[in-house]
C-alpha cells in the first residue's frame, strides 16, 4: 500500500545541503506493524512526515494506495491526511482550550461531517481508548497517558488506513507507555497499518518489521517473528 521509490529529501542548512533521506526504497503493505528506529537526526521523523504527507520529497516517488503523491496539490494532500492517515505525536498536540471530546471531534469538523454522525463516532473513538468518562475534561485535567489516549482517539475517529506514531511513548512513564503501545497494537490487529518511530528497543522488538536508518539511508530492514 505504501511504496517509496528512490526517495530523497534534502534540506539547505546555511550553505550546506543535508540529506535527511537519501535514495530510499521501501514498501509497506496493508496491516503491517513497522517500527522505524535510529539515532536522532537519522531522518526517521522526516520519513514519517513524508509518509504523512506533511512534507514532500525533494526527488523520488511516494505511491500511496496506487496514487503517486507527487502529483497531488495541497488540498488533495489535506484530503488524504484527513481520510487515510492518523497521526500520534510525542507531545500529544491536543488543543488546550477544547475538551477531550471536542479534540477528538476536530478532524470530523474539518471534514464537514454532520453533528449527529460526529457525536456517534466521537463516542465510539473515546470508548475504544477507554476514556468515555473523561470526555468532558480538558487536556490539563488529564494525565499524560490519558492525553495520549485522547490523541489516539482523535487519530482513529476518521477511520484511517495508516496510523503514524512519532515517539508516542516519549513523554510517558513506562506503565502508561506500555498501555499506549498495547492500545495501538490492538488497533493494528484490527487491520490498521501501524508505522511507529521510536528509539526504544523494547518497543521496536514487538513490531513485525524494524527499519533502521542512519544518515538518511536504510541500513537494515528486518522482518521478525511475532511478539
Amino acid at each position: 500500500m505504501i511504496q517509496l521509490k528512490n526517495l530523497s529529501r534534502e534540506f539547505q542548512v546555511g550553505n550546506q545541503v543535508v540529506h535527511a533521506l537519501d535514495a530510499i526504497d521501501l514498501a509497506i503493505s496493508e496491516g503491517e506493524y513497522v517500527s522505524i528506529m535510529g539515532v536522532s537526526g537519522c531522518g526517521k521523523t522526516t520519513l514519517l512526515n513524508i509518509l504523512g504527507l506533511l512534507d514532500t520529497p525533494s526527488s523520488g516517488d511516494y505511491i500511496l494506495s496506487g496514487i503517486n503523491t507527487s502529483e497531488m496539490n495541497d488540498d488533495e494532500m489535506a484530503n488524504i491526511r484527513s481520510t487515510k492517515i492518523g497521526f500520534i505525536f510525542q507531545s500529544f498536540h491536543l488543543i488546550p482550550r477544547l475538551t477531550a471530546a471536542e479534540n477528538v471531534e476536530i478532524p470530523m469538523i474539518l471534514a464537514g461531517h454532520s453533528q449527529k454522525m460526529r457525536a456517534e463516532k466521537v463516542a465510539q473513538a473515546l470508548a475504544r481508548v477507554n476514556l468515555t468518562d473523561r470526555s468532558d475534561h480538558r487536556p490539563e485535567q488529564l494525565s499524560g497517558g490519558e492525553r495520549q489516549r485522547v490523541a489516539i482517539a482523535r487519530s482513529i475517529v476518521m477511520e484511517p488506513e495508516v496510523l503514524l506514531a512519532d515517539e508516542p511513548t516519549g513523554n510517558l512513564d513506562s506503565t502508561s507507555g506500555s498501555e499506549i503501545v498495547e492500545l495501538i497494537e490492538e488497533l493494528n490487529q484490527g487491520g490498521l497499518t501501524l508505522i511507529l518511530v521510536t528509539h526504544d528497543k523494547e518497543i521496536g522488538k514487538r513490531s513485525n518489521r524494524v527499519i533502521r536508518l542512519l544518515d538518511g539511508k536504510i541500513i537494515s530492514n528486518q522482518t521478525q517473528q511475532g511478539i
Binding site: 512534507d55 495541497d74 488540498d75 489535506a78 484530503n79 491526511r81 497521526f87 469538523i109 474539518l110
Partner: protein, 404 residues
C-alpha cells in the same frame, strides 16, 4: 467545515485569551464609539444652528447691515466707509416701494430689566412689527401680537413669552397690565404660545415691542436686520437686487448691506454641517483603522503563538483555506463584537448627554452606526487577511516541531 463549527472554533480561542480579546474589543469599540459621538456632536451643532432658520417662513429675504466681501477697487473712498452705516427703520420703510414684498419685519435686539409690581428681571427685548409673527410662525396663546403697530406707528404695547408671564405676573392676568421695560411702559396685549429659540433667544423669555419704541429705548437707531417676505418665490432675486439698489442710494452710494435668501442660507448651512459631520466621522474612522492595525498585530502574534496548533490542524486534514478562514473569522468576530460594544457605548453616552444638556440635540445619525459597523467589519477582515494567510502558509513540519 460548517459555518457554525467555524464560529465555535474561533470563539473558543477568543475566550481562551480573555485579556487579549478584551483589549482588542476595547480598541475597536473606542473607534466605533468615537464615530458615533463625533457625528452626534456634528449633527447636534447642525440642529442647533439651523433650528433658527428651520422655523422661519418661506420666501424670506434677510437684510443684514455691513458687507463682508471686499468691494473691488479699494482706495480712499472705501477707507472712509470702513464702518458700515447703520440700517435704520427709515431704510425698512423705504423698502415699501417694492410692491412684490408682502411683509417687512425689522428686528432690534437688546436686553433690559422688565418689571411688574414687585418683580423685576432682565429680559431679551425684540423690537419689530406684527409681520414678525407670521415670518417666525409663532402662535399666540391669547391676545394680539403688537396691535396697531406699523413701521412708523409705535403705540406702547407688547407681547410676552410664557415664562415672562409666569415669573412677573404669577397667577394674576397679564393681558391689559402695564409692563415697565427700561424707562418705558407698555401694555401687555398678548402672550406668545411658542417655545424654542429665535435668533438664539429662548422665545418663552422674551418681550416683543414696537420697533421704534425699542430703538428709542436703547437710544440706538441701528437695526439688527430686516426680514422681508416676497409675494412669491419667483420675485426673490429681483427683490434682492431692488433692496440693494434702494439701500445703496439711501447710503450715499455705498453697498454696505448683505442681502441673503433664507433658503440659500439654509442650504449652505446644511452643506457646511454635512461636510463638518463627514469630517468628524472620517477623523473618528482613523481610530477604527488603528484598531484594525492593532487586530492585525495581535493576530500575527497569535499565529506564531499557535504554530503547533496550526501544524496539528494541518496534520489532521485541515486545508489551507480552512486555516485561513479560522483566523479570519476570529478577526471578524473580534472587530464585529467590538463594533457592537462601541455602538452600545456610543448610543448610551449620547443619550445621557441629551438628558444632561436637553437644549442640544445630540442625535447620532443612523448612517454613522451602519457605516462604522461596516468599516469595523471590513477593517477586521482586511487586517485579518495577512495573519490568516501567514497561518495557512505555515509549513506543518516546522509548525509541529515548535514544541509548545
Amino acid at each position: 467545515m460548517k459555518f457554525s463549527d467555524l464560529l465555535f472554533l474561533a470563539f473558543s480561542s477568543l475566550i481562551r485569551y480573555p485579556l487579549r480579546t478584551m483589549m482588542l474589543l476595547i480598541a475597536t469599540s473606542i473607534g466605533v464609539m468615537a464615530v458615533i459621538l463625533l457625528t452626534a456632536v456634528g449633527e447636534g451643532a447642525r440642529d442647533y444652528i439651523t433650528s433658527e432658520f428651520r422655523d422661519l417662513g418661506t420666501n424670506l429675504i434677510i437684510v443684514i447691515p455691513g458687507k463682508n466681501e471686499t468691494s473691488g477697487g479699494g482706495g480712499p473712498a472705501d477707507f472712509a466707509g470702513l464702518a458700515p452705516r447703520d440700517l435704520t427703520v427709515e431704510d425698512a420703510i423705504s423698502l415699501r416701494q417694492i410692491d412684490t414684498i408682502k411683509a417687512i419685519a425689522p428686528i432690534v435686539l437688546g436686553e433690559m430689566p422688565a418689571s411688574f409690581g414687585g418683580f423685576e428681571r432682565n429680559v431679551p427685548v425684540i423690537g419689530t412689527t406684527p409681520e414678525f409673527l407670521r415670518v417666525r410662525r409663532w402662535e399666540m396663546r391669547e391676545g394680539d401680537f403688537l396691535p396697531g403697530v406699523t413701521l412708523d406707528r409705535s403705540p406702547p404695547v407688547c407681547a410676552i413669552g410664557k415664562e415672562v408671564e409666569k415669573e412677573l405676573f404669577g397667577t394674576s392676568r397679564a393681558i391689559g397690565q402695564w409692563l415697565r421695560v427700561g424707562d418705558r411702559r407698555c401694555r401687555v396685549t398678548g402672550i406668545i404660545d411658542s417655545d424654542g429659540r429665535a435668533i438664539g433667544i429662548d422665545v418663552q423669555k422674551i418681550v416683543v415691542m414696537p420697533v421704534s419704541l425699542v430703538t428709542a429705548l436703547f437710544n440706538r437707531p441701528s437695526l439688527f436686520r430686516i426680514i422681508a417676505e416676497a409675494e412669491s418665490r419667483i420675485y426673490m432675486d429681483q427683490i434682492k437686487k431692488d433692496i440693494i439698489r434702494i439701500i445703496k442710494k439711501r447710503h450715499q452710494g455705498k453697498e454696505d448691506i448683505t442681502v441673503v435668501r433664507q433658503d440659500t442660507v439654509m442650504a449652505s448651512f446644511d452643506n457646511i454641517f454635512n461636510v463638518l459631520t463627514m469630517a468628524l466621522a472620517s477623523i473618528a474612522s482613523i481610530s477604527l483603522f488603528v484598531a484594525g492595525i492593532l487586530i492585525m498585530n495581535v493576530m500575527l502574534v497569535a499565529v506564531s503563538q499557535r504554530q503547533s496548533e496550526i501544524g496539528l490542524l494541518k496534520a489532521i486534514g485541515a486545508k489551507n483555506r480552512q486555516i485561513s478562514n479560522l483566523f479570519l473569522t476570529e478577526a471578524i468576530l473580534l472587530s464585529g463584537s467590538g463594533a457592537i460594544l462601541g455602538l452600545i457605548l456610543g448610543h448610551s453616552i449620547t443619550l445621557s448627554l441629551k438628558t444632561i444638556f436637553p437644549t442640544y440635540n445630540f442625535l447620532p445619525p443612523t448612517w454613522a452606526s451602519v457605516v462604522s459597523l461596516f468599516v469595523a467589519l471590513i477593517c477586521g477582515a482586511l487586517f485579518g487577511l495577512i495573519p490568516a494567510r501567514r497561518a495557512a502558509k505555515l509549513d506543518p513540519v516546522i509548525a509541529l516541531s515548535g514544541e509548545k
